[in-house]
């Protein structure tokens, strides 16, 4: 019987080694170990074996069963491992995947939204105003007297008794007049200047205005919030620099420069070797503007800032011609997905 068992084992070793696929292996498992498999049949006959031989034959038959099981398992594993490594004929995983070619947002809108998102996170709301403004909101209420040279910087388009707003600052007045502080707004929008077009100027462009009015608002807070803004927008390593400037509707007024993102402030072509790039104008809201909005300028103070979306987008993406924004060449647009 032991010889028979060994013969079965030998036979199994041969057939298993030669098996070429998983299906054959399954047949072999049935052949040797199934309900009426060769080894099973042998073990069924164990009852007729003399008692003194029983332990030994029992032991051998178990060993044979275990060995065949192990051989089968090992062969299955080998085959599965092999199957994972061998690709079917014609298979080419380097073909491109199936994708939906999505469209995307314009870089100017993207920048505008990024700016708004940061300020929304800081607790600001979004406000809007009309593109066609009155002289009052666009100039007079913002402390630009008629026939004042401060108006020279803002060549204006006229439409009947209106102007196309030259900046987003009129939204300040519209939001504040006859209402009670606190005010905390971001106001994005399109603005218009009657000037000729070149690589850095266009007669339409976009601004984001921001302002905060409350009790105890200080210039130091303006520095604080713009510092946070620029670090969130361009990265934590960005430094800001405030320089005195002049706008009729803020006092003290400032220009904000940030350290150049292309050379980390060392000086390069983009920042004209200065290490700094002018990014926006800002200041404490002039008491005259608060007065025009019927706000107690002794009790309340506020700051305002305004940035050019195109300027920031040109700088952020390293674009050298503002006109690219308005051509809408898809080869340009798809770079900003």
């Amino acid at each position: 019987m032991i010889d028979q068992l060994n013969a079965i084992l030998k036979d199994a070793e041969g057939t298993i080694a030669q098996a070429s696929d998983l299906k054959i292996l399954e047949e072999l498992r049935v052949k040797y170990l199934g309900k009426s498999g060769a080894v099973t049949e042998m073990m069924k006959g164990l009852g007729q074996v003399p008692a003194d031989q029983k332990p030994q034959i029992g032991k051998v038959s178990n060993e044979v069963k275990n060995k065949i099981t192990a051989l089968l398992d090992q062969k299955v594993q080998e085959m599965e491992a092999k199957a994972e490594q061998v690709a079917p004929a014609g298979w080419d995983p380097t073909l491109p995947g199936r994708r939906l070619t999505a469209g995307g947002i314009h870089p100017l809108t993207a920048v505008q939204k990024d700016i708004a998102d940061i300020f929304r996170g800081l607790g600001f709301d979004i406000a809007e105003g009309p593109d066609l403004e009155t002289d009052y909101y666009n100039f007079l209420a913002l402390n630009f007297p008629p026939d004042h040279p401060a108006r020279d910087a803002q060549d204006t388009f006229y439409v009947k008794d209106r102007v196309l707003r030259t900046h987003t600052s009129p939204i300040q007045v519209r939001q504040m007049e006859n209402k009670k502080p606190p005010f905390k707004f971001i106001a994005p929008g399109r603005v218009y200047r009657n000037e000729s077009i070149d690589a850095t100027h266009h007669h339409i462009f976009h601004q984001v205005e921001g302002f905060l009015v409350d009790e105890g608002v200080q210039f130091s807070h303006l520095k604080g919030i713009l510092n946070v803004f620029f670090q969130k927008f361009f990265g934590n390593e960005i430094k800001t620099r405030f320089r005195p400037s002049f706008f009729p509707f803020t006092e003290p007024s400032a220009e904000v420069d940030i350290s150049c993102i292309f050379c980390a402030g060392k000086g390069c072509r983009i920042c004209k070797q200065s290490g700094w790039v002018e990014m926006m104008g800002c200041g404490m809201i002039d008491p005259a503007v608060l007065k025009n909005c019927k706000i107690d300028d002794e009790r309340y103070t506020g700051f305002a800032f305004g940035m050019g979306v195109e300027r920031i987008a040109l700088f952020k993406y390293g674009i050298d011609d503002i006109r690219l924004f308005y051509q809408n060449d898809i080869r340009f647009l798809e770079q900003f997905q």
Partner: protein, 801 residues
């Protein structure tokens, strides 16, 4: 505006190098556009005289010269044509260095030895372009170092002065600023001795101001017996360095004082002033004036002029008249220094399109207390450089007496506004450095602001000065507390988010276009005469004729973008824009609304190797409309077909309205004639969404529905549909008959072809049935199908295929 550092140092003894001064003034709020260093990197150039000029023996175009420095004589070969014996010229001696590290050596030029070089202004780095050798005045001292003779090297600052800082529009003004920044005293120039004749000025000329509100002060002097001629070198140099052309000694002095003190002046030839009368008045209707710029201008009645008994002789504060200008024959001048109202100067200058150094300063405001000092300074200088004697006394007519601004100032308010902790001492010292007079007044201070700082009249103005001179860098950086108070603003364009994400998924790129259209856009779009888009508004002062109209639709811009992209061999163009459009209301007011407009041309988006390219068609744009409406979850909307007018093809168009009958969107295939106008050579489809109507349309609430407990059963039916029966009719009929078990009807195939009778088409639908309370039996479903099919047969003669 150019400021010469050497000139500046006459008034403030600043010892810091130019770079440090520039850095300080930038941080005090003055933009420095450019810094130049004329005369830098030049050595060993001296004043020399030409003793002889002969032709070079071997070169026609060259000259052989002998030049003398007084102590030495050199032979120099020169190529310039403008030289002659006796002239004084700059000689770069052997060993000299010129800008660009150009070293002068002994040389042999066509076999003739040359010891040095005669220099042009360009070679000396003094001019961008110069023809010929720089000829110096005949009194230039021989042998003197050229640089010291020319007041070089110097540093020129090109400053950009903000409109509030009129006081910085002169060398003395900048010197005051530098003095305040470096804590240095400032010496203002004073008229030396004013020698006067016995004749009274008042006997020479009568001055009256008629336009009292437009001229606060008019002062003048008369100088007799002058000799008009070229200016001395110091005056020429001073002016030329800062980019001013020398004209004659009298005009140059007025110009010099303008740049020194900031007060514009004008010199008239008194003999040309009719009736010896100066009248400051408004122009008369139709009056004309010949100006110094050789133009003649017709004046409007509100324009302020200086007139004599008969005619205007100057445009007040802007430009003098040619009829009274100082010429070589002039012997007696009337020298004017006045204060004109800034607004009137600006208005007139802009209306006539004239901008002068004088108008620029008057528009911004000149020092009211500096007028007479400037007049005396100029008069004394004219006598110095042109001779003559001034008559006795100044004439001064004043209509408004200037009062210095008095400001209540609290040092605590400075710190409250800035967030600083600046001591009283520091704050008051800054104000004093600026020329303010400060007196204690109770708990606060009374500050008298200097007359030249017209921008200082309120407490906040003084606080700004303190911030500026302390340096913004010294203001702390503090995070503000932002109140959590809710605003009543509902921000953003309604539906924008949903529309953008739908369009991006569908493969559309956002375009941003100008607001302005050419006036012929409506004709190009083939719009009917009563089309809403024809009610557009033009800009009064457009930048160009083809950018005149405030666009009432975004379509023309997007069609232009489409054309551009197709011209780049792009096969599929899918663009959209969300922006404002403008239409003229019946009330004459221009209304602003937001449109979202999408354009699709060429192939449908999303083509790839498993998704073969195909031409875009009507169902692409209709599907986009369906997706947009679904994303916005609008309720009770209705579709109309075959109704939209040009630019759409009516039979391939749709209009979606809300329950109130207002149009949410319009779309379809664009009229090929329109496409031809825009050079779009591909089928093109568009849709336009009225965002305000979309926002006003009721939306389905998003709410959860319990998941079905029982399974769904579905059947596919293929219908043979006769011509004239629409898909919408079939679906409506199927849904009506299928109630209440039918849950969904979905078209999955459309067939037209030879296997069907002529005019017929086959539509195949999958119908899904489900009950909420049990699993449907096969018979229940079959009965429903039979009912539906029977109905379609009797109602529309539709057969099963």
């Amino acid at each position: 505006m150019l400021i010469s550092f050497n000139w500046l140092k006459k008034y403030v003894a600043v010892t810091a190098p130019a770079e440090e001064v520039v850095n300080h003034i930038i941080h005090a709020g003055v933009e420095v556009a450019n810094v130049r260093h004329p005369g830098q990197n030049i050595t060993n150039v001296v004043v020399a005289e030409l003793l002889s000029v002969e032709k070079h023996p071997k070169a026609d175009r060259l000259s052989l010269t002998k030049v003398s420095t007084g102590s030495e004589t050199f032979q120099v070969v020169c190529g310039a044509k403008n030289i002659a014996v006796g002239q004084r010229i700059p000689l770069a001696k052997v060993g000299a260095v010129l800008p660009g590290d150009f070293k002068i050596k002994e040389a042999k030029i066509r076999d003739v030895e040359s010891f040095g070089m005669l220099c042009s202004a360009k070679e000396l780095g003094l001019a961008e372009d110069a023809e010929g050798i720089l000829i110096l005045p005949s009194d230039a001292p021989l042998g003197q170092d050229f640089l010291s003779y020319m007041g070089l090297p110097d540093t020129l600052f090109e400053l950009e002065i903000t409109p509030n800082r009129a006081d910085l529009l002169s060398h003395v003004g900048v010197a005051r600023e530098v003095g305040a920044l470096f804590n240095l005293p400032v010496k203002t120039p004073v008229a030396i001795k004013l020698a006067e004749s016995k004749a009274a000025t008042a006997s020479k000329v009568k001055v009256s101001i008629e336009a009292k509100d437009l001229c606060q002060l008019y002062t003048c002097r008369v100088i007799e017996g002058i000799k008009v001629g070229p200016s001395p070198l110091w005056l020429v140099q001073s002016l030329e360095k800062i980019g001013q052309r020398s004209i004659n000694n009298v005009v140059d002095v007025t110009n010099f004082v303008l740049h020194e003190l900031g007060q514009p002046l004008h010199a008239f030839d008194l003999e040309q002033i009719h009736g010896s009368q100066i009248i400051v008045r408004k122009a008369k209707k139709g009056e004309k004036i010949p100006l110094l710029d050789k133009t003649e201008r017709e004046l409007k009645e509100e324009m302020l002029v200086i007139a004599d008994a008969d005619r205007p002789v100057a445009l007040a504060g802007i430009m003098g008249g040619a009829n009274s200008q100082v010429t070589e024959k002039t012997q007696t001048i009337l020298l004017e220094a006045a204060l004109f109202q800034p607004g009137t100067v600006r208005k007139t200058a802009r209306q006539l399109g004239i901008a002068t150094d004088s108008s620029y300063r008057f528009e911004r405001g000149v020092d009211p207390l500096g007028v007479q000092a400037a007049l005396d300074r100029a008069a004394a200088l004219i006598v110095e450089v042109a001779g003559g004697l001034m008559t006795q006394n100044i004439i001064s007519v004043e209509t408004t007496t200037f009062k210095s601004a008095q400001v209540q100032f609290r040092t605590a308010r400075t710190n409250a506004i800035l967030g600083t902790n600046l001591s009283e001492e520091i704050q008051l010292q800054i104000l004093k450095n600026l020329g303010c007079k400060v007196e204690k007044a109770g708990a606060a201070y009374q500050v008298e602001c200097p007359s030249y700082r017209l921008d200082l009249s309120r407490e906040i103005d003084l606080i700004e000065e303190i911030a500026r001179l302390t340096g913004y860098d010294n203001i702390p950086v503090v995070a503000p507390r932002i109140s959590a108070a809710l605003s009543d603003i509902r921000s953003g364009i309604p539906g924008e988010k949903e529309i953008r994400s739908t369009l991006h998924q569908a493969g559309y790129f956002e375009a941003v276009n100008s607001t302005f259209l050419p006036p012929n856009f409506a004709d190009k779009l083939k719009l009917a005469a009563d089309h809403l888009y024809r009610r557009s508004q033009e800009v009064d002062n457009p930048i160009a004729d083809d950018q005149k109209v405030l666009r009432p639709t975004l379509l023309p811009s997007l069609l232009a973008n489409t054309q551009l992209n197709l011209s780049h061999q792009r096969e599929s163009v899918a663009l959209y824009e969300i922006n404002k459009v403008f239409t003229l209301g019946t009330d004459g007011q221009v209304a602003e609304r937001f449109h979202a407009t999408a354009v699709l041309a060429g192939q449908a988006p999303h083509a790839g190797w498993t998704n073969p390219a195909r031409k875009a068609d009507f169902y692409d744009i209709k599907g986009l409309a369906e997706d947009l409406l679904a994303a916005c979850r609008v309720e009770n909307i209705s579709w109309e077909f075959n109704q939209a007018a040009s630019p759409y093809v009516p039979t391939q168009s749709f209009i979606v309205k809300n329950a109130a009958g207002r149009v949410i969107l319009t779309g379809g295939a664009l009229n090929p004639k329109v496409l031809k106008e825009y050079d779009v050579n591909a089928p093109c489809f568009a849709l336009e969404v009225e965002l305000a109507v979309l926002a006003a349309t009721p939306k389905k609430r998003q709410s959860y529905m319990a998941l079905p407990k029982f399974p769904e059963a579905w059947r596919d039916i293929a219908l043979v549909v006769p011509e004239g029966v629409t898909a919408a009719q079939i679906v409506a009929a199927v849904e009506e008959q299928g109630k209440p078990l039918l849950k969904q009807v979905e078209l999955f195939d459309l067939y037209k072809g030879p296997n069907l009778p002529a005019g017929m088409r086959s539509l195949a639908y999958r119908l899904s049935f489900r009950a909420d309370d049990k699993t449907l039996t096969d018979k229940e479903v079959s009965d429903k199908i039979t009912q539906i099919v029977e109905h379609l047969k009797t109602r529309y003669a539709i057969a099963l295929r």
